[in-house]
Amino acid sequence: MKLKVKGKITEVKGTVVKASNVSGIQMNEMVRVGELGLVGEVVRVEGDNAYVQVYEFTTGLRPGEPVEGLGSPLSVTLAPGIVGNIYDGLQRPLSNIEGYSISRGYTAEAVDVNKSWHFVPVIKPGTKVEGGEKIGYVEETELIRHFIMIPPNVKGNLTYVAPEGEYKVSDSIAEVQNGEKVSISMIQKWPVRVPRPIKRRLVATEPLITGQRIIDAFFPLAKGGSAAVPGGFGTGKTVLLHQMASWANSRVVVYVGCGERGNEMVELLKTFPKLNDPISGKPIMQKSIMIANTSNMPVAAREASIYVGITLAEYYRDMGYDSLMLADSTSRWAEALREISGRLEEIPAEEGYPSYLASRIASFYERAGYVETLSGDFGSVSIIGAVSPPGGDFTEPVTTHTLRYVKAFWLLDPNLAYSRHYPAVNWISSYSSYVEPLSDWWSLNVSTEFETLRRQALDILFKEESLRNIVRLLGPEVLPEDEKLLLEAANMLREGFLKQSAYHEVDRYTPPAVQYYLLKLILTFYERAKEKLKGGTTVEEIRSSPLYLEVIRARFNVKGKEEFDALMKKVMEF
C-alpha cells in the first residue's frame, strides 16, 4: 500500500487549491482538502507542490489547512444496487442526504452495503478464469440480471465460489489463486478516466430504436453508436434526451445531467417510475441510473460526472447489455474544463478553451461502441450528447469539435422551435452515417418497401426546400398545380410525420412498424392526389378535404395495423 501523502494549502483561487509538501502525490490522485475534508483531484504536480481541483465550494478555506492524498485516482463503485439510483457527479447518492441541501465534505457509499442479494453462481471452482468472466449473478431489478464478473485485471485459478444464497456486496463470493490469493466480492472499483477493457470492437448493425420518427426513420443511431444534439437554448435538447431515456430499446440507461437544471432531474425522478419500458412493460426506473450535477453545484464535479456516467455504462455493457449514455449538456463539461484550465493559467486556444479540448471530446465519444466483451458476450455503449452553443452559433469550438467525432448529429433549428415544430431537428442539415448499415434491418424487420418510402419522403422535403425560395420571393400563386401539390405533400410530412409531441400519449412513441404506416399513408395520399389533379381536382380542394386533415392527424390515432388498414382503405378510395 502506498503511504498517504499529507501536505498543506498555500493558495486558494476559486475551486483550485495549491498544496505544498506533497511530494509523492500522483497526477489525478484523489485528495481531501481542508478541515472539512472537501473532495478534490490532483490536476498538476510541480516538484513538491500540487494543484488540486476541489469538487466542492471552497468558501472559508485557508492557507495552512491540511491536504491529504487518498492514494487512488477518482474511481466508481461497481456493484449491485446502482440501478434506480440518483447520484451526484462523484457517485454520492443524493437520496439519503438529510435535509434539503448538500453539505460540504459529504461522504456516502454508492450502494447499500447492508442489503442482502440472492447470489446464484454460474461457474464451478477449479477452472481457470480471466478478467471479465462471469461467476454468478443477482437480480438487481426485474429488468437487470446483474452479473458478478472477475475484475478485468485479475486472472488465475478459481479456488472458491460461494454457494447460492444471500450475500452483502462486500462479502467474499469467490477466490482466485495466482501466486497470491485474491478475494472477490460483488464490488469492483474502476478509475473513471480509463476505459474498461474489451475483447474487440465490432461493426454495429442493429438500430437503437428510439420511437422518435425523424431519428429512427431518417437519421438513425446504431446500438454502440455516438450522436450529438447541438441546439441553442429552448430548441428541445433536453426533451429529446428525455424521450430517448424513456423509450430507447437499450437495456440500461445512464442519464447525466451535467450543469443543467435541478427541476429537469426531478422531472425524470417523477416520470420514470410511471413510464413503462416498451419492450418489457416494466417501469423504466428499473433500468435507469441518474447522475445529477446541476448548474448550481460546483463546476469541477461537472467535469467528473461525464466520466462517472460513461464508466457505469461500460460496466453494464461488460455484462453483455446495450447501455445508453445520455449527457445533457457536454458544453457544460467543456466549460468546466475551460474554467479549471483558466485557474491553472494554462495558455488558452479558441475562446478560452484549452488546447486539449478536441482530444478530450474525441476520447469521450471513443468510449461508445458495439463490442465483444472480455467474457465473449456482445454488448454496446451508445452515447448521445447535447451541445449548447453560445448564441446558437454552430461554429464555436465545442460544436465543431464534437461534430468531427460523432457519427450522427441532429441539428436543432431555432426557427423550427420558434414555430413550435418539435422535435426541431433540421432535416436538411442533420446527418447519420448509420443509414446504410441499418437499412437491412428495416427491410428484414419492418418492410422491404421502407427504404424506398424513406427516399421518397426525403426527396419531397428537399424539393420543397428549393421551391420555398421561390415562394418566399414571388408567392405560391406563381407555381404550377403539381408543384403546389408537392408543397402540400411536404406539409403533410412535416405535420404528420416529422412533428412529434413528447407530451401526447400516442404520439410520443412510435414503434418502427407504425413509422412505416405513417409514411405509407402520407405518400399514398400524395400518389392519389396526383391522379386526382390530373382528373381536374384543384390543390385547394384536396387541401380542404377532411381526409387531408385525417392523414395528418394519423400520428395521434394510428397505434397499429388495425387503424392503419382502416385509414389506408379511405386513402385508396380517395
Binding site: 448538500i102 429552448g234 437544471r261 474554467e339
Partner: protein
Amino acid sequence: MSGSITFSSVQSIKGSLMVIRTNGKLGYEELVEIELENGEKRLGRSLQVSEDIAVVEVFEGTQGLSPRGVKVRFLGRPLELSVSNELLGRIFDGLGRPIDGMPEPVGVEELDINGKILNPYKREYPDEFIQTGVSVIDGMLSMVRGQKLPIFSGSGLPHDMLAAQIARQATIAKGEEFAVVFAAIGVPADTAMFFRKELEESGALKRSVLFLNLAEDPAVERIVTPRVALTAAEYLAFEEGFHVLAILTDMTNYGEALREISMMREEVPSRRGYPGYLYTDLATIFERSGRITGRKGSLTQLPILSMPADDITHPIPDLTAYITEGQIVLSKDLYHKGIYPPVNVLMSLSRLMKDGVGEGKTRADHKELSDQLYNSYSKAMDVRSLAEIVGEEGIPESSKKYLQFADAFESKFMKQDPYENRDIDTTLNLAWDVLSILPESEWTNISEKSKKVYLSVVQKRNI
C-alpha cells in the same frame, strides 16, 4: 467576533481590487472591513488567498483609498444576511443594510448569501398554475409556482409595467401567504420608486422586502445584491412558508459588473469580454428558485434584463435563457403598434407550462388551444411577411384568413389594459374567438372532443 484581527498593510490597489498582506489568516471569500483614516468603513471580500497575500474586492469601490493610512480587519466569516420575518416591509441597500431610517431588524439566523446547494432529489416539481390575469401569459406562457421566468426587454419597453402587473395580480389568491422580494440592480432611482409605489397601492408593501442598488451605487456591490435578496427570499419561502415572487432588475447590470471584476483580475475572457464562468455564476442565482419537498412555500423568480442592442444572442440573455425555465421576450414592433403587453410569443417560452395546465388545473382544452395558437400565429407570420413582398393579391385566398387571424390575435387576445385582470376562462374563450377566424380544416392541433365541449359553448355565448 472570532479570529478577527486588525492589520494594516495594503500592497496595491487596482480598480476595485486591493492586494493585502494576510500572513495566511484570511480564508477564501471571507470578509474584510476596511477603515479609512477619516473613520469611514467599507466592506471587501477575498477572491484569492495565499500564505502571505490576498486579493480583495471592495464593494463600495476604492475611491479615496491609499495603501497607507487604511486599516484592514478580517471578519472571519463570509458575507451573511440576518434573516427573520421582520425583513418584511423594509428597505435595504444592495448589501442588505437598512436604508429606511429604521433600526436593523432582529434576525433569527445569519445566512451565507451564497445560499445552500439545494439537493435536486429534495426538489418538488413545480406544477401549480399561477393566474397572472394577463392573457398572453396565462394562455400561452403559463407560469407555475417555483419557476424562474425572465422578461427579456429593451429600452423604452414596458417591462416594469408588466412585472408590476404580474406582482399585483398574481398575488391575490385568498388565504395564502405571499411576499414580494424586489432587488434593484443598478437601475435608476425612479424605477425603484415605481415598484415601491405599485406595491404600496396594491397593499403588498407590508409583505415586501426591497434591496436597492441604484445606478449611482457602486458596481461591485451589484455582485452581491441579487444574492442578498435571494437569501431573504429563500428564508421567507422555505422557512416561513410564503409564496415568494422575486423580481430582479436589471440582470444585465449584474453581468456587466461581473465582467468588470473579471477584467481587473486579468482573466481570460470568453465571448465579448465576459468571463468563461458567466453561465455558472448566473446559474448560482437563477437556480435559487423552486419548491422543496415537505416545505410549504415556493420561490418564483421574475428577473428582468435588457438585451444590449436588442440582441438575444448577447451572452447575458443567451446564457440566462440556457438556465431559466423559459423567457418572455418583449417586442418593439408590437409596442409601436400600440399593443400592451407587447410579447413576441414565438420567441417566448414557458418550459414548465405543460404540467401546470389542463384538466383539474386550468381547463382540458388549454394545451391544445395554446399549441394551435402558436402553430397558426407562426403560419400567419409567414403569410404576413409574404404579403409584404408580393402584396395581398399574390397570396392564395385561403391564406388571407391568416392575416385577419394575426391582427385579431394581437389586438384582441394579446392586448389588454395594464390594470385589466382576466381570469383563465375569459382568456381561453378569447382564444377560441380568434381561432374561429380560421376554417376548422386548419385546426391541426384541436381534437374533436375539445371542439364538442368548448367551441359550442363559446359560439353560443357569442350569439
